[in-house]
């Protein structure tokens, strides 16, 4: 599944004194089987952008295309099953008496058989390392556990594109890394993931492409090393360490991920490069 935003503008509270133009003509494809990281400062339009991917927000002007066809021609329910959106702090929407029932809610509404719903719930909780929580009340879980359950609720619909808006905010670093592992696993299985994050370090670890938003416009989009090494204000910690070394030691290259950065720096210190 390929989604394309075509010159999308979005204006909140249009025609009132509180009018805010959140997106100012954004064109951006989400390719099949990629992890697309969307970064940008507070209020740059990241959340507004991703809510257009399943037409939860409708563009004020411009179009959203799904495999080349206007997304408005697809039934809303079908579109939202194929493009699963996980909001910021999704645990706020947990409601059922048990974790299992909460996760089963959305797939059940897709009209699947009880057997299939049960299978998906089990599989999804397993993927998120939350099987042991199935019988618990979602309200008695810790913040990290709730987050996993809320994400499982969307994943259980088996979307072709999973959109995560700040999925790791408030999670401890170890849980954060587990979740990034889930993102990688989904991509391996052919699901595209769009991940909004203010944390450049985690985007650096998983993204195949990075889009930088600024003030409602696409400031840069491309491979992580292209984007991060050419926009000084948008650089993860790894790039901030390496960039000043590139003058005296150009051979260090343009590593982005932690492991490749560590290898490059070791090489530099040991005089192997």
């Amino acid at each position: 599944m390929r989604i394309e935003l075509e010159n999308v503008r979005h204006v909140y509270a249009s025609g009132t004194p509180f009018e805010v133009e959140a997106l100012r003509g954004v064109s951006l494809p989400v390719e099949p089987e990629e992890v697309l990281g969307i970064v940008g400062g507070t209020g740059s339009g990241k959340s507004t952008l991703v809510q257009h991917l399943n037409l939860l927000l409708v563009p004020t002007s411009g179009r959203v295309l799904v495999d080349g066809a206007d997304a408005r021609t697809i039934r809303g329910g079908e579109l939202r099953g194929r493009v699963g959106l996980v909001f910021q702090f999704p645990e706020a929407a947990l409601f059922a008496p048990t974790v299992e029932e909460d996760v089963a809610f959305a797939p059940r509404r897709l009209g699947l058989s009880e057997g299939e719903v049960h299978r998906r719930v089990g599989e999804t909780l397993g993927l998120l390392g939350a099987s042991h929580l199935a019988g618990r009340s979602p309200f008695a879980l810790s913040g990290g556990e709730k987050r996993r359950v809320a994400i499982a609720g969307v994943l259980a619909m088996a979307p072709e594109v999973l959109v995560l808006d700040e999925p790791t905010a408030g999670l401890d670093p170890a849980t954060r890394e587990d979740l990034l592992g889930v993102v990688r696993a989904l991509r391996e299985e052919g699901t595209s993931v769009v991940m909004v994050s203010h944390d450049l370090d985690e985007v650096a670890e998983v993204a195949d492409r990075v889009c930088v938003l600024e003030n409602g416009e696409v400031r840069a989009v491309g491979a992580p090393e292209e984007v991060f090494y050419s926009h000084p204000t948008t650089a993860p910690s790894t790039v901030r360490v390496v960039r000043p070394l590139r003058g005296p030691h150009p051979e260090v290259g343009r590593p982005v991920r932690f492991e490749e950065t560590l290898a490059a720096l070791k090489g530099l210190l040991e005089g192997r490069v």
Binding site: Y12, A13, F18, V20, G40, G41, T42, G43, S44, K46, S47, Q88, F89, A92, R136, S137, A140, L141, S142, G143, G144, E145, E166, A169, G170, L171, D172, P173, A174, T175, R176, E177, H198, L200, D201, T233, P236, S237, T238, R240, V241, V242, R243, P244, L245, P248, H249, F258, T261, L262, L265, K266, L268, L269, G271
Partner: protein, 285 residues
């Protein structure tokens, strides 16, 4: 328990927050959220609280401002028992919640920031002045007339923090106050908090160890127990303590540790770059 990991308060002041043998369990949970916690925070201290999700950090803050009542043990804040006299405590203690959505109440940003002040009886002029200062402190100039629901997550978080700064309580209880902010936004907020050092008492729950490198000390909560009470330098240079509590160093410090470049002396990625330049230069000579 290992005494090496319990250094305690390092400077003066009378205790403002204290817990003695405090335990608490949520109703349908099998294990206590907090078990036999004893700690003291002194006036003017800046204390970081770290630990894994589910470790008990947020529960501890909720006990301190009286949202929860301990099953056993004593909690004292500014001389009061928060569960028995929550209003006395909340006059002196301000709390910032993890999810900023939970705190916003008013139709416009500036009303929201003024909300706490309206309940403590300061004059109109003073209120306006304090709101203005708080707005500037968190970098929200121009947002005064915006409606909170049109703001992004990070902007809401700043509004909530501005409300707390305007109220200017003696004790600030902060639950992940920068979790939705980008690097620049975080720096701004941390500088503002740093300016309170010594004048106010701050208890700051965070997952980002780099944020709390400036704390006077760091409490580590794991599975409901106070596992350590140490200086930030100790914490970041103790791989066992970090690993046992699912704590992960920020990227630059992790690189520094892997390269054998003493993480305790470094703060930022730029510091590490400098250390590498020095070391590789020395090798060349």
């Amino acid at each position: 328990m290992n005494n090496r990991n319990h250094e305690g308060a390092r400077h003066g002041g009378p205790p403002v927050v204290s817990c003695e043998n405090v335990s608490f369990s949520y109703l349908d949970s099998g294990r206590p959220a907090l078990a036999e916690i004893s700690l003291e925070v002194r006036a003017g201290e800046y204390v970081g609280v770290v630990g894994p999700n589910g470790g008990g950090k947020s529960t501890l803050l909720r006990l301190m401002n009286g949202l929860l009542r301990a099953d056993s043990g004593d909690v004292r804040v500014a001389g009061f028992d928060p569960a028995a006299e929550p209003f006395e405590v909340r006059k002196r203690v301000g709390m910032l919640f993890q999810n900023p959505e939970n705190g916003l109440v008013a139709p416009f940003v500036e009303d929201d920031i003024a909300f706490g002040l309206e309940n403590v009886g300061v004059s109109r002029e003073e209120m306006r002045e304090r709101v203005r200062k708080a707005v500037r402190a968190v970098g929200l100039d121009g947002y005064e007339q915006r409606e909170p629901h049109t703001l992004s997550g990070g902007e809401k978080q700043r509004v909530a923090l501005a409300g707390l700064l305007a109220l200017d309580p003696e004790v600030l209880l902060l639950d992940e106050p920068t979790s939705m902010l980008d690097a620049a936004g975080r720096r701004g907020v941390l500088e503002r908090l740093e300016a309170l050092r010594g004048a106010r008492t701050v208890v700051h729950v965070t997952h980002d160890l780099d944020e709390r490198l400036d704390a006077d000390r760091v409490l580590v909560l794991g599975a409901g127990r106070l596992v350590a009470d140490v200086s930030p330098e100790r914490l970041v240079s103790d791989p066992d303590l970090l690993r046992d509590n699912r704590l992960v160093l920020p990227t630059a410090l992790r690189l520094a540790a892997e390269l054998g470049l003493g993480p305790a002396q470094l703060r930022t990625p730029e510091d590490l770059a400098e250390a590498i330049v020095e070391k590789s230069g020395a090798r060349a000579r």
